[in-house]
C-alpha cells in the first residue's frame, strides 16, 4: 500500500464547554477525493482549520507524505502544499481578478506575467476567467474560480474545499467537478466538505463521517444511499417531509411588474418582477446568491418602499406600507440574516419576540408590553421548534446558528400567518431541524397559507415548493409547476434562460423519449 498523503491520528481540540474534535483519525491517499461529512457543529470546520494551520489541536498528530506535519499558521500549511478554498470568499470587490490573486501570494510575480499565468491555468483546468475584470462584476461562481485558481497557482498536493457548491448553479457544479477530477488525476488530493449528499456520491472516492466531534464511520459514498449517509450523520432515522396534494385557493400575494433601482454599488436592481401566490401553494424561488433575492425579500417585508400599484395583498395595494402594517394584515416574513436582521444579537429572545409581534397577538396593549405573555409566547416557540437554549431570557447571540434559525422561523410560523415569506429557511441548520422547519412550511400551506420560500438549496425547494421560479440578475423567471420539472430545465432557469427555452427543451426531450 502506498504512503497516504495525509494521515490524522487522534486529533483532539476542545473549546470552552465543547469538545469540537475528539480523537479523530483518518487518512487521504494521493489523488483521492475524500468527503468530510457531518451536521453543523459536528467539528468539520475545526478539523480542516487544524489541517490548514488556523487551529492548533490539543492532542494528536498529523503526517503529510509520511513526515510529521504540524503547521503553526496557514503560511506553513501552504508551504507544505496544503491549500484551502473557504466557503466565504475573501476577495476585494473593487480590485481585479489578477490583483486579488496576487494579494494572496507570498511573492507575487509582476501583474502581466501573473495575468498570463492565470489565463493558462484557468484554461487548462476548464475554469474560464478573465484576469482584468473587477471581482465586483463577477458572479458567485466566477468568484469561486478566483479562489480556486489562487490555490492552484501554488501547485497544492492537498486542496481543501468547504461547501464549494452552495453558491453554484447545476451547470457550474458540473464544471467544478470536471476540474476536481482533473486535479485528482494529476495526483492532487481533495478534502471535500459538503452537505449535499448526492454530490458526494457522484464525486468522492471515500468519506469520513463526524458526529459530535467523533468519527462515527466511513464509507465509499457511491455504495451508499444519500439517506443512509444522512442517518449516519444524524445518528437517527430521518423521515422526509410529507406532502399532500392541495387544491389551491384565491391569490393572496401578487407582484405586478415590480422594478427597483440597485441600492449601492454592488446591489442588484429588480427588473419587472411579477409573481402571484395562491392560498395553499408554496412558491420556491431559486437562484445563485446575489441575483436580487435579498432585494426582493426587502421589498416583500416592506423595508424597501416600491412605487404604488406593484404589490398586492388579497387584491389590496400594499406597495406603500411598512413592515409593521403588513404584519398586521397577515404577511409575515423571515429574512436570511439571523443576527442583526431577523433578531437583535444582544437582546433576549423574549424581547426579540416583540420584533414581529405586538398588539394583534395581545403582547402589547396601547404600546405597553405584557412581559408575562411575551415570555410565554417565546416559550411556545422554543418548545414547538425544539430551540436549545437555557430559556427565553437568553441573548439571541448566545444561541448557535441553527438554534437561532429555528427560533426566528418558528417565531413567525407559530402565528399561522396567512401569507409567509422566508429567505433561506434552513441555512446552517442540521438535517433533523431542517426537516422540522420544512415540514412546518408544508403544514402552513396545507392549512391554506400562501408561502414563498427563497433559497439557494435546490433540494430544499424541490422538497417543499409546488411552483418554482428562478432569479437571475434581478429578473424572475415565469413560475413553473415543480411536478415534472427536470434538473436541466431548472439549471437553464437559474442561468437566466427563458422559461420558454426550458419548456422547449422538455418538449424536445419528450419527443425523443
Amino acid at each position: 500500500m502506498t504512503v497516504p498523503l495525509l494521515r490524522l491520528s487522534g486529533i483532539t481540540k476542545s473549546y470552552p464547554g465543547v469538545r469540537a474534535n475528539d480523537d479523530v483519525s483518518f487518512q487521504i491517499a494521493p489523488g483521492e477525493i475524500h468527503a468530510l461529512l457531518g451536521e453543523n457543529g459536528a467539528g468539520k470546520s475545526t478539523l480542516v482549520k487544524a489541517i490548514y494551520g488556523l487551529v492548533k489541536p490539543d492532542a494528536g498528530s498529523m503526517e503529510l507524505n509520511g513526515a510529521a506535519y504540524a503547521p503553526s499558521e496557514p503560511r506553513a500549511a501552504r508551504a507544505a502544499g496544503v491549500a484551502m478554498v473557504f466557503q466565504h470568499f475573501s476577495l476585494f470587490e473593487a480590485l481585479t481578478v489578477a490583483e486579488n490573486v496576487s494579494l494572496g501570494m507570498e511573492d507575487p510575480p509582476p501583474q502581466r506575467k501573473l495575468a498570463a499565468k492565470i489565463r493558462e491555468v484557468s484554461r487548462s483546468y476548464g475554469l474560464p476567467l478573465e484576469p482584468d475584470r473587477l471581482v465586483g462584476d463577477l458572479s458567485a461562481g466566477q468568484r469561486q474560480r478566483v479562489e480556486i485558481i489562487r490555490c492552484l497557482l501554488q501547485n497544492p498536493r492537498l486542496l481543501i474545499m468547504d461547501e464549494p457548491t452552495s453558491v453554484l448553479t447545476p451547470q457550474e457544479v458540473e464544471t467544478l467537478f470536471g476540474t476536481l477530477h482533473k486535479l485528482s488525476d494529476e495526483g492532487t488530493a481533495i478534502l471535500y466538505i459538503s452537505h449535499k449528499l448526492e454530490e458526494i456520491r457522484a464525486l468522492c472516492d471515500g468519506a469520513t463521517i463526524l458526529r459530535h466531534g467523533k468519527v462515527v464511520g466511513d464509507c465509499v459514498p457511491a455504495e451508499r444511499s444519500a439517506r443512509e449517509m444522512a442517518e449516519m450523520m444524524v445518528g437517527t432515522d430521518l423521515t422526509p417531509p410529507e406532502r399532500r396534494e392541495l387544491t389551491p385557493g384565491a391569490v393572496r400575494l401578487e407582484a405586478r411588474a415590480l422594478s427597483l433601482p440597485a441600492q449601492g454599488q454592488f446591489g442588484t436592481p429588480l427588473r419587472e418582477i411579477s409573481l402571484s401566490v395562491r392560498a395553499g401553494e408554496v412558491l420556491g424561488i431559486g437562484g445563485v446568491a446575489g441575483n436580487g433575492q435579498d432585494e426582493l425579500m426587502a421589498v416583500l417585508t416592506g423595508e424597501s418602499p416600491t412605487p404604488g400599484g406593484t404589490l398586492f395583498l388579497d387584491g389590496a395595494d400594499i406597495s406603500g406600507t411598512g413592515p409593521a402594517e403588513r404584519r398586521s394584515m397577515g404577511l409575515r416574513t423571515s429574512p436570511e440574516e439571523r443576527l442583526g436582521h431577523a433578531a437583535a444579537p444582544d437582546m433576549s429572545l423574549t424581547e426579540n419576540t416583540l420584533l414581529t409581534s405586538g398588539s394583534a397577538q395581545g403582547l402589547t396593549k396601547k404600546g405597553f408590553v405584557a412581559w408575562g405573555k411575551t415570555r410565554s409566547a417565546t416559550e411556545e416557540v422554543i418548545e414547538t421548534f425544539d430551540v436549545r437554549t437555557p430559556g427565553p431570557g437568553t441573548a439571541a447571540r448566545a444561541l448557535s446558528g441553527g438554534n437561532l434559525q429555528k427560533y426566528v422561523v418558528g417565531r413567525e410560523v407559530v402565528r399561522n400567518p396567512p401569507i409567509f415569506v422566508v429567505n433561506q429557511p434552513t441555512w446552517g441548520v442540521d438535517a433533523a431541524a431542517a426537516a422540522t422547519i420544512r415540514q412546518s412550511l408544508l403544514n402552513l400551506a396545507e392549512q391554506g397559507s400562501a408561502v414563498v420560500v427563497i433559497s439557494q438549496d435546490l433540494d430544499e425547494l424541490l422538497e417543499v415548493a409546488s411552483w418554482f421560479a428562478a432569479m437571475n440578475e434581478g429578473t424572475l423567471s415565469a413560475p413553473r409547476e415543480v411536478a415534472g420539472l427536470s434538473l436541466d430545465e431548472i439549471g437553464l432557469m437559474l442561468g437566466g434562460g427563458d422559461a420558454q427555452d426550458a419548456a422547449a427543451i422538455s418538449e424536445a426531450e419528450n419527443a425523443q423519449a
Binding site: 492548533k56 413592515p323 442583526g340 433578531a343 416583540l354 404600546g367 408590553v369
Partner: protein
C-alpha cells in the same frame, strides 16, 4: 497569558458593578493626581465626597446645592439617554439648554412688570419650545440630508453661546441695569420666579421636573414597546427596520425628548438659581449630563444616582478649590476620569479575562 474572551451574553452583575468600580478607581487615580499637586489625597477626597454633606460648617450651604446642581443634570441626561440608547448622538444639549433659557426669559420679560400668574407656565412652555427648536436643526438636517448629528448639534452650542452673549448685551439687557450686561433678575420678579419650594432643600420646579422625568422614562423604557424599539434601533438598525421601526421617526422623537428637557432645564435655571440671562449663564450642565447619562448606564434610576454623584463632585470640587487651593482644572480632570474609567470598566460586562497557556509558535 491573560486573554480577553467575549461573554456569550452581557453579565448583569458586572453591568451593575462597573459604575461603583469606576468611582473607586477615580478616587484612587484622583488621589494620585492631588498628591502630585502636593495636596493630601485623603483630605482632598474627603472634602470632595464627604464634606458637602456631613461637614457642619459648610453643609447648610452645600446640602441644598446638591439638588440645585443635580436637577438640571438629571433632567438633561434623561433626555439624552433616549437618543444614546438608539445610537442617536445629541452632543449639543448645552446649546438647547441656553436656547430654552433665552426663549423662556424673553417671553417672560415681554410681560414685565405684570404679575399675571400665567406668566410662569407660559415661560415654561416657551423654554421647552426653545430647546426643541434648537434640537430640531440637527434632527431635520440628519433626516433630510443625512448630516452627522454629532457635529451639527455640537457646533450649534457655539452658535447658541454667541446668541446668549448678544442678547445679554442687547435685546434682553436690563434697561435699569446701569449698562451692565445681563437681563433683569427673573428670580426676584414674583411672576417669573422659580423659588425654592421647601426651605433648606434646594428643591425647585426644575428638580420636580427632573424627578417626574425619571419616573416617566422608567415606565417608558421598561414597560412600553418604545423602550424596546429604542434599544433595537441602537443595537441592530437592520432588525429595527425589519420590525417596522422608522429610523427618521426615532431621530425625531429622541431629539424632541432631549431638546425639550434641556430647554426646560435652562428655563428653570434662569428663573431660579441663576436668576438672569448673562454672558456666563451656561456652566456646562449640557456636557456634564453626557457623563451623567453614561455613568447611570442610560437607565433612569442610574441617571438619578449619577446626577446626584456628579453634583456632589461639583460642590465638593468648589469646596476643595477654596479650602485646599486645588486648581479648577484638576477638579475637571477628576470629573473626566469618572467617564474614562466607566468606559474602560464597561468592557467587563461584555468580556471576561481568561488565563491561557501561551500557544507554542
Amino acid at each position: 497569558m491573560l486573554r480577553l474572551e467575549k461573554r456569550p451574553q452581557p453579565s448583569k452583575l458586572w453591568t451593575a458593578l462597573t459604575p461603583l468600580l469606576a468611582v473607586l478607581a477615580t478616587m484612587v487615580a484622583g488621589g494620585l493626581l492631588f498628591a502630585l499637586l502636593g495636596k493630601n489625597p485623603v483630605e482632598a477626597i474627603r472634602v470632595i465626597f464627604f464634606d458637602p454633606l456631613f461637614n457642619e460648617q459648610v453643609a447648610s450651604y452645600a446640602r441644598p446645592q446638591l439638588l440645585v446642581k443635580a436637577g438640571p443634570l438629571i433632567l438633561i441626561a434623561i433626555g439624552l439617554s433616549f437618543g444614546f440608547r438608539a445610537g442617536i448622538w445629541n452632543i449639543g444639549a448645552e446649546g438647547q439648554y441656553i436656547m430654552g433659557a433665552i426663549c423662556g426669559a424673553a417671553v417672560g420679560l415681554a410681560f414685565y412688570p405684570s404679575e399675571n400668574p400665567l406668566i410662569f407656565p407660559l415661560m415654561v412652555m416657551a423654554g421647552a419650545l426653545g430647546g426643541w427648536i434648537w434640537a430640531m436643526i440637527p434632527a431635520i438636517l440628519k433626516i433630510t440630508f443625512r448630516t452627522n448629528e454629532i457635529l451639527v448639534s455640537l457646533l450649534l452650542v457655539y452658535v447658541a453661546e454667541q446668541l446668549l452673549a448678544s442678547v445679554s448685551l442687547g435685546l434682553l439687557r436690563n434697561p435699569e441695569g446701569g449698562g451692565f450686561p445681563g437681563s433683569r433678575n427673573l428670580a426676584s420678579w414674583d411672576a417669573s420666579s422659580n423659588p425654592e419650594l421647601i426651605a433648606g432643600t434646594g428643591m425647585h420646579w426644575g428638580v420636580v421636573a427632573a424627578f417626574i422625568s425619571v419616573i416617566f422614562a422608567y415606565v417608558m423604557l421598561s414597560r412600553h414597546i418604545f423602550g424596546v424599539q429604542l434599544q433595537l434601533a441602537g443595537q441592530a438598525p437592520r432588525a429595527a427596520r425589519f420590525a417596522g421601526v422608522r429610523p427618521e421617526m426615532m431621530v425625531f422623537i429622541c431629539f424632541t425628548a432631549s431638546g425639550v428637557l434641556a430647554g426646560l432645564a435652562g428655563l428653570f435655571e434662569v428663573t431660579g438659581p441663576a436668576g438672569q440671562i448673562s454672558i456666563d449663564f451656561n456652566v456646562g450642565y449640557g456636557f456634564t449630563a453626557i457623563i451623567v447619562a453614561f455613568l447611570g448606564r442610560l437607565h433612569p434610576i442610574g441617571i438619578l444616582l449619577a446626577g446626584l454623584l456628579m453634583a456632589l463632585t461639583y460642590i465638593g470640587g468648589e469646596l476643595a478649590q477654596f479650602m485646599l487651593g486645588l486648581p479648577a482644572a484638576a477638579i475637571q480632570a477628576f470629573q473626566g476620569m469618572l467617564l474614562f474609567f466607566l468606559l474602560a470598566f464597561d468592557m467587563l460586562s461584555n468580556y471576561r479575562f481568561r488565563l491561557s497557556a501561551r500557544e507554542a509558535a
